[in-house]
């Protein structure tokens, strides 16, 4: 009757659970890193790298971005680029003032 299911690709239970497992491991890793490693600015970068990896998994699999249209992926790209420019320009100001 309708074609609703056509564009929304089905992700198997196993695949979604595997993504969840990866997210749990990365959570354990980020907590462990905060307890074991020396704190300070390098640790901020490690935490952010792990967070970006986790965020990427959520967006790609849980939010189905991997199978979305090109338009939507471009929108995501433009949003993230805008955010990066905002943050980049602010730091350019803060660091070299």
């Amino acid at each position: 009757m309708t074609t609703n299911t056509r564009k929304t690709h089905e992700l198997s239970y196993a695949k979604l659970t595997a993504v969840w497992l990866a997210l749990m491991v990365l959570t354990a890793l980020t907590v462990a890193a905060s307890r074991l490693t020396a704190t300070g600015i390098p640790h901020v970068w490690v935490s952010l790298a792990i967070a970006i990896l986790k965020g990427g998994l959520v967006v790609s699999y849980f939010m189905h971005m991997r199978t979305e249209s090109t338009v939507l992926r471009w929108f995501l790209f433009v949003t993230l680029t805008t955010l990066t420019i905002f943050i980049g320009l602010t730091f350019f100001d803060v660091l070299y003032r």
Binding site: T8, H43, V44
Partner: protein, 200 residues
């Protein structure tokens, strides 16, 4: 006709994503403030961060990621014509939202009763960087908590519609958009958690 319904679905999803992008920019602004003040007050942020409840924060991270998994599984369940399973999974997500908010309540109650809240005498007497850390913490986590609440209400509507049979394997735009919103809530927490609870 088929094409029209298909386009409605795609348009609704595109609209949801556009809204989510504005949400990313909103929280992005708060993270930017955090970053600038972390650079200005690294020692004060470290001192303030040490007082955070890491165990509760970690527990809430596990709760949110698991709730995200359940709502993602619910879409697959519906696509496989298992509406009852989808119903249970979305209910699980809403239950996790409740657990998250209860944990948050416990955490904030402990902090506020120790005199740690914006404008408190304790923070006013302390270093300025520490009070900025807690102001940003209450603002960011409070706004995120509001999103958890809205997401839970959104998914409760989805549950009602699943029960009534108006969300089906052929028409599940609302479930999909509810799930997208919920994943965004999860996504933001993934960044809030290390920045406020773990970094220093």
């Amino acid at each position: 006709m088929n094409q029209a319904r298909h386009n409605d679905h795609e348009d609704a999803k595109l609209g949801m994503w556009l809204f989510l992008f504005t949400e990313l920019l909103l929280f992005g602004g708060l993270f930017l403030l955090y970053a600038v003040y972390l650079r200005r007050y690294p020692h004060e942020f470290a001192a303030a961060g040490k007082r955070m409840h890491v165990v509760l924060g970690t527990l809430n991270t596990v709760v949110l990621i698991s709730s995200s998994l359940m709502v993602a599984l619910a879409i697959t369940a519906l696509q496989r014509h298992e509406p009852r399973r989808a119903l249970w999974l979305v209910s699980g997500t809403v239950a996790c939202a409740a657990i998250f908010l209860v944990n948050k309540y416990i955490e904030w109650h402990a902090e506020i009763s120790h005199g740690v809240y914006p404008g408190s005498a304790l923070l006013k007497a302390g270093a300025p960087g520490e009070s900025i850390f807690y102001s940003l913490y209450y603002l960011t986590v409070g706004l995120h908590g509001l999103h958890v609440l809205i997401g839970a209400i959104f998914l409760t509507v989805v549950i009602v519609k699943l029960k009534r049979g108006s969300i089906t394997a052929h028409n599940f735009t609302l479930l999909e958009n509810g799930a997208l919103y919920w994943h965004l809530v999860d996504l933001i927490w993934i960044f809030v958690f290390p920045l406020y609870y773990l970094i220093l």
